[in-house]
């Protein structure tokens, strides 16, 4: 038997999560829903064993909602949970400062014919703000529905709430049937309920269904039609038309008015909230943060900080993880395999170049994703994200997206993988898909080294212009794609937009870190396996000999990989780089853009391998020591990067030049001049430009593909891969052929 569950429902920002944490014992689980930031957290409730000894009552923290319509994914998910999971009771959290609105949700929960317990939360704050409330009276006026005063932040009332829940589970809790809609409407509802009971007895929640049919709820209507109950829908249509005739109002407006009318009666003389306007600190902050003129620059500045944070601050830790896999783990594996006589065999190659490299390829993303989720968590928790959505709404609407879509796109300049996960802040599936589709065109940090090498090799001092131009070109392609998408895949974002601006507050790390860890775990499980498999596939391609050589000991050009590169080369001919080496570099670039330069060095034969082999390989102890000291260094560098955000930010201002903080000496840059020479022999400036355009636009890396598939499924991922390849090829060909026509060849 499934465990009993208790649902926790309430408006956003009423202290629901705090109550959840107070009630929940160990063993929290977060169920993420595909496509949304919305998650339902569940945990067993911790009861006092002396009073109640049932270990498996779960409490489910539903997302914050305003009503049980399906305007947002939050409402949709909460409603589905209440309808299908059939919780034994619903605890609804009422905000004592905002009681009218809280009761509006409670009224709709009562329509579901579920037992409801009300937690009247934050009474202390409300009373401080001049709210007068006689909590004791509230229960009496709601037919004895249990109302428990709580102050979640201080743990007040939690014991009582727990007791009420255990009572509800043990003894059962009466369903309060409050007939709040007035005689005329109640008669209409009763009519419909009777028809439902007669013709569609399989529907359990008849009152709720009748009310939703009267409200003309789109989803309920469709469900009824699909189930073959067109007659019910037609009856509701007739009744609705009658109501308009009699009252001059639409049924949904009438129902809402009656709910509020009833709430007015319930609260009459027991509740008084001052309705005068008192300017708060948040209001003063919003004078700047949502200001008609300053709002957008402030937002761009915040995005700059987010970008610095995700791109730079995580870099030292990323290098450290990379170093562990390339150093300690690889050397240890070689030692073990060598010890059992497998050194130098294909198995060693598979373990080192396939498996270890693959696992490392997954884990290097953890520092990036951590800093991304931390940054987004801070924005959400502080209350700024709601302002950003408002401020950017109009500009992003112009390209068919919503205001929040800006965040993933900015993150994309750091790394595309977290950008794809950042689309979770968007509130509809279409915008998420389109934003993730555009994200790869924001040139990520890993592509930069390619531009730099080519820039210095072919354009010298103008190299910076090439880089800047490529970034702009990526943005232009994204805008163009958005423009096409707007027509091909029309926006689901309703033209009307409203959002509550919660008061600014200090972010609570607990609320950021738990979901962060859960999502990273999910990434490792879902995207990680794909990355691992693809790494092994690439290893196989490089290991299988086509012409000569033996398995796992074959030169690149003689392997299956080389054969593929040679097959691909003619396709690239119109873009000006038709040799197999360039194609091979692009294939490895699909694994990760970071390796394009390394594999070019290898393929063009400028890799001076002999220089390093003279040194004795480091012992395991040295490796282990390097890991430890490396971690310390990485932490110092992380702090350094975080501190450097300040000088780098100030340096944007004209006339300011503050040196970066340097806690550790900078490492030696790789010497790449030999590669530059090799490139000059194989590319012309024009074909180099076309090659860079291709690198900018085609699939960023297989990790992006894995992340896309994880978030949006195989089909959308295939579309994206195909689109990026096509547009990259097309753009490279246009650049090269156009350049030739203009005489730049």
């Amino acid at each position: 038997m499934a465990a009993l569950s208790i649902a926790l429902a309430g408006n956003p920002n009423v202290g629901k999560s705090t109550l959840f944490n107070a009630l929940a014992g160990a063993g929290q689980q977060i169920a993420n829903y595909p496509g949304v930031t919305v998650a339902i957290k569940t945990a067993p409730i911790q009861f006092d064993p002396a009073q109640f000894d049932q270990p498996d009552v779960l409490i489910a923290d539903l997302p914050g909602i305003y009503s049980l319509s399906t305007f947002t994914p939050e409402e949709h998910i909460a409603r589905d949970y209440l309808l299908h999971e059939q919780p034994a009771a619903v605890v609804t959290v009422l905000d004592a400062s905002n009681l009218e609105r809280s009761l509006y949700l409670l009224m709709q929960l009562l329509d579901l014919d579920v037992p409801v317990i009300a937690a009247l939360n934050m009474c202390d704050v409300a009373r401080q703000n001049g709210v007068k409330i006689q909590a004791g009276q509230l229960s009496a006026r709601l037919q004895g529905l249990p109302v428990i005063e709580t102050v979640g932040t201080q743990g007040m009332g939690i014991a009582d709430l727990r007791l009420a829940i255990s009572d509800a589970v043990q003894k059962g809790l009466q369903v309060r049937r409050i007939r709040a809609y007035g005689d005329d409407l109640e008669a209409v509802i009763a009519d419909l309920m009777q028809s439902i009971a007669q013709h569609a007895p399989q529907y359990a929640k008849t009152r709720w269904l009748a009310i939703k049919l009267l409200e003309d709820d789109e989803i309920v209507r469709e469900q009824c039609i699909n189930d073959g109950h067109v007659a019910l829908v037609q009856q509701a249509d007739v009744l609705r038309a009658q109501l308009v005739n009699e009252t001059g109002e639409d049924a949904d407006i009438l129902l809402a008015d009656r709910r509020y009318g009833f709430i007015g009666q319930v609260l009459d003389s027991i509740y008084d909230a001052p309705d005068g306007y008192v300017e708060t600190i948040s209001d003063r902050l919003d004078r700047v943060l949502t200001h008609p003129l300053w709002g957008v620059p402030v937002f761009l500045f915040v995005m700059w900080l987010v970008f610095q944070f995700t791109a730079n601050v995580s870099a030292p830790l990323l290098d450290w993880v990379d170093g562990i896999f390339g150093g300690l783990i690889t050397n240890a594996a070689q030692l073990v395999l060598g010890g059992i006589g497998l050194g130098g065999t294909w198995l060693e190659s598979l373990v080192v170049d396939g498996l270890i490299a693959g696992v490392g390829g997954v884990l290097v993303f953890i520092p990036v994703l951590m800093s991304l989720y931390l940054a987004i968590g801070l924005l959400e928790e502080s209350g700024y994200m709601a302002r950003a959505a408002f401020v950017m709404d109009r500009a992003m609407r112009a390209v068919g997206l919503q205001g929040r879509a800006f965040v993933p796109l900015i993150v994309g300049f750091g790394c595309t993988v977290p950008a794809i996960y950042a689309t979770r802040t968007l509130d509809n599936e279409r915008d998420r898909r389109v934003t993730a589709f555009l994200a790869p065109f924001m040139s990520c940090g890993a592509r930069l080294p390619v531009y730099v090498i080519f820039g210095t090799a072919f354009f010298g001092a103008q190299g910076a212009m090439l880089i800047f131009g490529l970034y702009l070109f990526g943005i232009a392609v994204a805008l163009l794609t958005a423009w096409v998408m707007k027509r091909a895949y029309p926006s689901q974002t309703p033209p009307n937009f409203i959002i509550e601006l919660p008061p600014y507050r200090a972010p609570r790390l607990r609320n950021i870190i738990k979901p962060m860890l859960s999502r990273i775990g999910e990434f490792v499980r879902a995207a990680g396996t794909v990355i691992l498999v693809m790494t092994v596939v690439l290893w196989l391609l490089l290991s299988i000999p086509v012409n000569e050589g033996e398995f796992a000991a074959v030169e690149a050009q003689d392997s299956l990989f080389g054969a593929m590169s040679q097959t691909l080369a003619p396709v690239m001919q119109p873009a000006g780089f038709g040799d197999w080496q360039a194609s091979g570099a692009l294939i490895t670039g699909f694994v990760a853009k970071e390796v394009v330069i390394a594999s070019m060095s290898q393929i063009y034969g400028v890799d001076d391998a002999s220089a390093t082999t003279d040194d004795a390989p480091p012992s395991l102890a040295e490796d282990a020591q390097a890991v430890v000291t490396g971690f310390g260094e990485a932490l110092v560098l992380t702090v350094q990067e975080a501190m450097n955000i300040i000088p780098r930010t100030l340096n944007i201002l004209p006339g300011v030049a503050i040196a970066d903080v340097a806690l550790l000496p900078a490492g030696d840059e790789d010497d790449t001049s030999t590669l530059e020479n090799a490139l000059q022999n194989h590319f012309t400036p024009l074909s180099a430009l076309a090659f860079n355009v291709f690198v900018l636009l085609y699939v960023p890396c297989m990790s992006t593909v894995a992340a896309m598939r994880h978030e949006f499924g195989t089909r959308w991922t295939v579309y994206q891969v195909a689109y990026t390849l096509a547009i990259a090829w097309l753009a490279a060909v246009v650049v090269y052929q156009g350049g030739l026509l203009l005489g730049f060849g």
């Binding site: 305007f71 407006i253 009656r258 009318g261 009666q265 001052p274 949502t290 008609p292 409203i498 919660p502």
Partner: protein, 116 residues
């Protein structure tokens, strides 16, 4: 008049929204019921408006503001500036504020008719 015509610092009474059924429900859920008073705290020609309902702050885009009908606050006989819905709660004068002094009463049937 429409919400987008209201100036910053003014307080008006919400009447209705000319919007989809889903948006109507959304507005009701967020506390925008007929008769509630809204104060405009920021007008932003580019993005929309910030309004205050008690201690709640809502941001609405320009398009939504244009579809919301509001009414200027009513002057009661005793001189109090109030919304039509709250007029009856006036403690300063004995006049029955819900009578014909106020044209077009908004859904008073439950308020006046039934008791709990």
């Amino acid at each position: 008049m429409r919400l987008n015509e209201v100036k910053t610092g003014q307080t008006v009474e919400f009447v209705m929204a000319d919007a989809s059924q889903a948006m109507q429900n959304r507005l009701a859920g967020m506390g925008l019921r007929a008769g509630i008073s809204l104060r405009i705290i920021q007008r932003n020609a580019h993005a929309g408006m910030l309004v205050a309902i008690g201690n709640t702050r809502l941001a609405l885009n320009t398009q939504l503001c244009a579809s919301i009908m509001v009414r200027e606050m009513t002057q009661t006989p005793c001189g109090l500036l109030t919304t039509l819905a709250d007029a009856e709660a006036c403690e300063n004068c004995d006049l029955n504020h819900t009578d014909s002094t106020f044209p077009d009463p908004v859904n008073n049937q439950i308020r006046n008719g039934e008791t709990i």
